[in-house]
C-alpha cells in the first residue's frame, strides 16, 4: 500500500508522461474563495487513453486548464502542487516556455466545434498558424523573419506560408476530410459540426503532441458523428502514439475508449484505476453511486438509483471528505479529515477512509418511496 501524499519524489515513475501532485487551484471571487481543486493527483502514461469523469462543476476542465496553465488570472490561481510533464514541472515554467509547449507538446480540443474555430480565418490558415508557431519550414521559423530586410521578408514569408499550407492540407487529409484542398480554403461557418471538430483535431494534432486533452470533444455532436470522431481519435492515437486525456461526463464513451479512468468529485480525485475495474467493481461510494445511475438495458428498474443531495458549494465546502454529507457510509472521521488517495491494489487508487468496508458491503438497494 503506497500513499501518494508526502512522497512524490520517489513515487513518480519514470514512465509517466504527466503526473499531477497535490494540485490546488482556487478562484478568488467577490462571494469568496472558490476552492475548485483541492489535492488533485493523477498520472497519465505515454500513449494511453485516460478518462476523467465527474459531475458538472467538479473541476475536470479546471484540472485540464491548470495543466495548460490557461487559468484566467485573476480570478483564478494555482496555489500549490506539481504538474510534472516529461519530468519537468510546468508550474515553474515561464509564460514563453509554456507557449512553446502549448499546441506543440500538449494540445487541447474543445467542446463546441461551432465556436472553437475563429470565424474570420479560413480553416487552412488556422492550421497554418499552429504549424508556423512551432515548426520550421525550409529551415526557417517565423521567428527568424525579422532578421531579413523588408524586401526579402515578404518573399520568405510567402514561401514559408506555402509550405505550411501544404502541410495543413495533409493534416486535414489525415482526419479523413474529403477534398482537403477545398476545405482548407473555407471558413468555419461553411462546415458542418463534425467537419469542424475534425478540423479542430487536425489543428491540434498538426505538431504531433505527446498529450492531447479532449475536453468533452463530442458533447455537442450528434450520436453518429460522435462515434466517427471517437473512432478517428483512436486511429490517430495509434498512428501518432499520442496520449489522450478524455474529459467527459458520458460514461459510455469512457467505457468504450479509455484504458484508465479517474473519477472526480468536488475538486478531489476520489478513485483512479483501470477502466474495467472502476466500472465493474468500484470501491468509492461516489463511484458506486455514479455507476448505479447508469440505466442498463438488461436490468428492469422502475427508478434509477440516485445519489441524494447536491454537489457542495465550493466556497464553503464540507470539512473532511467533501462527499460525506451525501455518503451513506460516512462516519465521524470523514467529517474531520479528508481521506488521502491510497493505492489499494496495483494501479487502483481510492480516496476513502472506509474503502475496505465499502468494498465488502453489498450494494444495498435504497428503499423506494411509494
Amino acid at each position: 500500500m503506497l500513499q501518494i501524499q508526502g512522497c512524490e519524489g520517489d513515487f513518480v515513475k519514470k514512465k509517466d508522461l504527466l503526473s499531477i501532485r497535490k494540485l490546488k487551484t482556487y478562484f478568488f471571487t467577490y462571494e469568496g474563495v472558490v476552492k475548485a481543486l483541492e489535492n488533485v493527483d493523477l498520472d497519465i502514461y505515454p500513449g494511453e487513453t485516460f478518462g476523467l469523469i465527474g459531475e458538472t462543476g467538479c473541476g475536470k476542465s479546471i484540472t485540464a486548464l491548470s495543466v495548460m496553465r490557461l487559468i484566467q488570472e485573476p480570478p483564478g490561481k494555482i496555489i500549490d502542487g506539481q504538474i510534472l510533464f516529461k519530468g519537468e514541472d510546468l508550474l515553474k515554467k515561464s509564460e514563453e516556455e509554456m507557449q512553446k509547449i502549448r499546441g506543440n507538446e500538449i494540445s487541447m480540443i474543445f467542446q463546441e466545434p461551432m465556436t472553437a474555430l475563429n470565424p474570420v480565418y479560413t480553416v487552412g490558415d488556422q492550421i497554418v498558424e499552429v504549424l508556423l508557431l512551432h515548426k520550421k519550414f525550409l529551415g526557417l521559423s517565423i521567428r527568424d523573419i525579422p532578421k531579413y530586410n523588408l524586401l526579402k521578408r515578404r518573399k520568405i514569408k510567402k514561401k514559408i506560408y506555402q509550405e505550411a499550407f501544404k502541410e495543413a492540407i495533409e493534416a486535414l487529409r489525415l482526419v479523413q476530410i474529403s477534398d482537403p484542398e477545398k476545405v482548407a480554403k473555407q471558413y468555419p461557418h461553411e462546415l458542418s459540426g463534425g467537419m469542424r471538430q475534425r478540423a479542430m483535431i487536425a489543428m491540434m494534432l498538426a505538431c504531433d503532441p505527446s498529450l492531447l486533452i479532449a475536453d468533452e470533444p463530442t458533447t455537442a455532436l450528434d450520436v453518429t458523428v460522435q462515434a466517427q470522431i471517437l473512432e478517428l481519435m483512436k486511429e490517430l492515437q495509434k498512428r501518432k502514439n499520442t496520449a489522450i486525456w478524455l474529459i467527459t461526463h458520458n460514461l459510455g464513451i469512457v467505457a468504450e475508449m479509455c484504458d484508465r479512468v479517474g473519477v472526480m468529485y468536488a475538486g478531489y480525485i476520489v478513485e483512479m484505476g483501470v477502466t474495467e475495474k472502476i466500472f465493474d467493481n468500484p470501491d468509492h461510494p461516489y463511484t458506486r453511486g455514479l455507476m448505479g445511475a447508469i440505466p442498463k438495458i438488461t436490468e428492469e428498474k422502475e427508478q434509477l438509483e440516485i445519489i441524494p443531495g447536491t454537489v457542495p458549494n465550493l466556497i464553503y465546502p464540507p470539512p473532511g471528505c467533501r462527499f460525506h454529507p451525501r455518503c451513506k457510509y460516512a462516519i465521524d472521521k470523514c467529517k474531520q479529515s479528508p481521506p488521502p488517495l491510497v493505492e489499494v491494489e496495483k494501479d487502483h487508487f481510492v480516496a476513502c477512509h472506509r474503502y475496505e468496508e465499502v468494498k465488502h458491503s453489498v450494494v444495498v438497494k435504497r428503499e423506494r418511496k411509494a
Partner: protein, 313 residues
C-alpha cells in the same frame, strides 16, 4: 490566353474570399440607400483626387512665418476684383466670390481639405482608441481600470471648447483643429472596442488560440480585435461625416482654416454676408458639405446592415 489562365488560377486560389466579397456586394446591392451612399462617397473621393483636372483656377502654396515664428505652408488664391460676385455662368460654373475667385474651383479643392481632415482625424483616433480599448478589455484588472478612467477624463473635455482653446493658444490653422479633434475623438472608440472585446474574448476560439501556444499580443490582435471590429466600422463611417461637420463648424466660427483657404465651412462663413445678393456663394459649399455628410451617413448605415447578421433581411 495566358492572361485568362492566370485569372483562372487567381479566382481558384481566392475562391472563398471572392465568394465572401460577392455575398457582401449582393447584400449591399439590395439596399438602395447604402448604394447611394457609396456612390456619393466615391464621387467626392474622385473629385478630391482629380481636383487639378476639374478646377479652372488653382491655388498656389506659399510658406509663411506666423507672428510666433513658426513656419507653415499656406494656400493662396489669385484675386481678381473685376470679376467679383459674378453669378454662375459658363466661365464660372458656381459663380465667383467677393474677391473674384472661382467658387467651383474652391469647392473642388475644398473636398481635398475636408477629406484630409475627416480621414486623418478618424483614422488616428481609431488607432489610439483600438489600441487602448483592446488592451483595457483584454487584459482587464488594473490596466483596464487605469485606461478607462483616463478615457473618462478625456470624454469630459468639451471638443469645441478645446478646439477654440488650442486655436487661440497655438494660432488659427487646420492642423490645430485636427489635433484638438483627435484629442477628443478617440475615447468613444476605446469604449466601443473594449465592450466588444469583453464579449469576444469569452469565445472558445480565443481559448483555442491560447492553447496552441500563441502569445497574448498575437491572440489579442490576430484573433480578438478582427472579431470585434464591425460595430466600430459603422461608428467610423458615421463619424467621418460628423468630423466634417464639426470641422466646418469650427471654420465657420473662425477657429479652423485660415482666411483665403478653400474650406467649405470658411466659405460659408464669409459668404453669409453676401447671402441675399449672391446666393451661390453659400449655396454651393453648403451643398458640398450636405452631399459628403449624407454619403458617409448612408454608407455607415449600409455597412451596419451588411455586417450585422441580425439586421440582415
Amino acid at each position: 490566353m495566358i492572361k485568362s489562365k492566370k485569372l483562372e488560377e487567381f479566382t481558384k486560389k481566392h475562391e472563398s474570399k471572392i465568394k465572401d466579397i460577392k455575398h457582401m456586394l449582393y447584400l449591399f446591392r439590395r439596399s438602395l440607400l447604402s448604394m447611394m451612399g457609396l456612390i456619393l462617397v466615391l464621387f467626392v473621393l474622385l473629385v478630391a483626387v482629380f481636383a487639378p483636372l476639374l478646377a479652372s483656377q488653382h491655388p498656389s502654396f506659399v510658406e509663411v512665418t506666423s507672428e510666433r515664428g513658426t513656419k507653415r505652408i499656406e494656400e493662396r488664391w489669385s484675386i481678381n476684383f473685376d470679376e467679383k460676385l459674378l453669378p454662375p455662368n459658363s466661365n464660372h460654373l458656381f459663380g465667383t466670390d467677393d474677391y473674384g475667385r472661382d467658387i467651383f474651383s474652391m469647392v473642388v479643392y475644398g473636398a481635398r481639405t475636408s477629406l484630409k481632415i475627416c480621414l486623418l482625424v478618424v483614422i488616428v483616433s481609431t488607432i489610439i482608441g483600438v489600441v487602448l480599448g483592446s488592451i483595457a478589455g483584454y487584459f482587464g484588472g488594473k490596466i483596464d481600470e487605469i485606461i478607462m478612467r483616463v478615457t473618462d477624463i478625456f470624454l469630459s473635455i468639451p471638443g469645441l471648447i478645446l478646439a477654440l482653446a488650442v486655436a487661440s493658444a497655438l494660432g488659427r490653422s487646420i492642423e490645430h483643429v485636427m489635433e484638438a479633434l483627435i484629442f477628443v475623438w478617440w475615447p468613444p472608440y476605446a469604449r466601443i472596442i473594449r465592450g466588444q472585446i469583453l464579449s469576444v474574448r469569452e469565445n472558445q476560439y480565443v481559448e483555442a488560440a491560447r492553447s496552441i501556444g500563441a502569445s497574448s499580443w498575437r491572440v489579442l490582435f490576430k484573433h480578438v480585435v478582427p472579431n470585434s471590429f464591425s460595430p466600430l466600422l459603422v461608428q467610423i463611417t458615421l463619424d467621418l461625416g460628423a468630423v466634417l461637420l464639426v470641422a466646418a463648424g469650427l471654420s465657420f466660427i473662425g477657429v479652423g482654416a485660415t482666411p483665403g483657404t478653400a474650406e467649405w465651412g470658411l466659405m460659408i462663413s464669409t459668404g453669409r454676408m453676401h447671402m441675399f445678393h449672391a446666393w451661390w456663394y453659400v449655396t454651393f459649399p453648403g451643398l458640398a458639405i450636405f452631399i459628403t455628410v449624407l454619403g458617409f451617413n448612408l454608407l455607415g448605415d449600409g455597412i451596419r446592415d451588411v455586417t450585422d447578421p441580425r439586421l440582415r433581411r
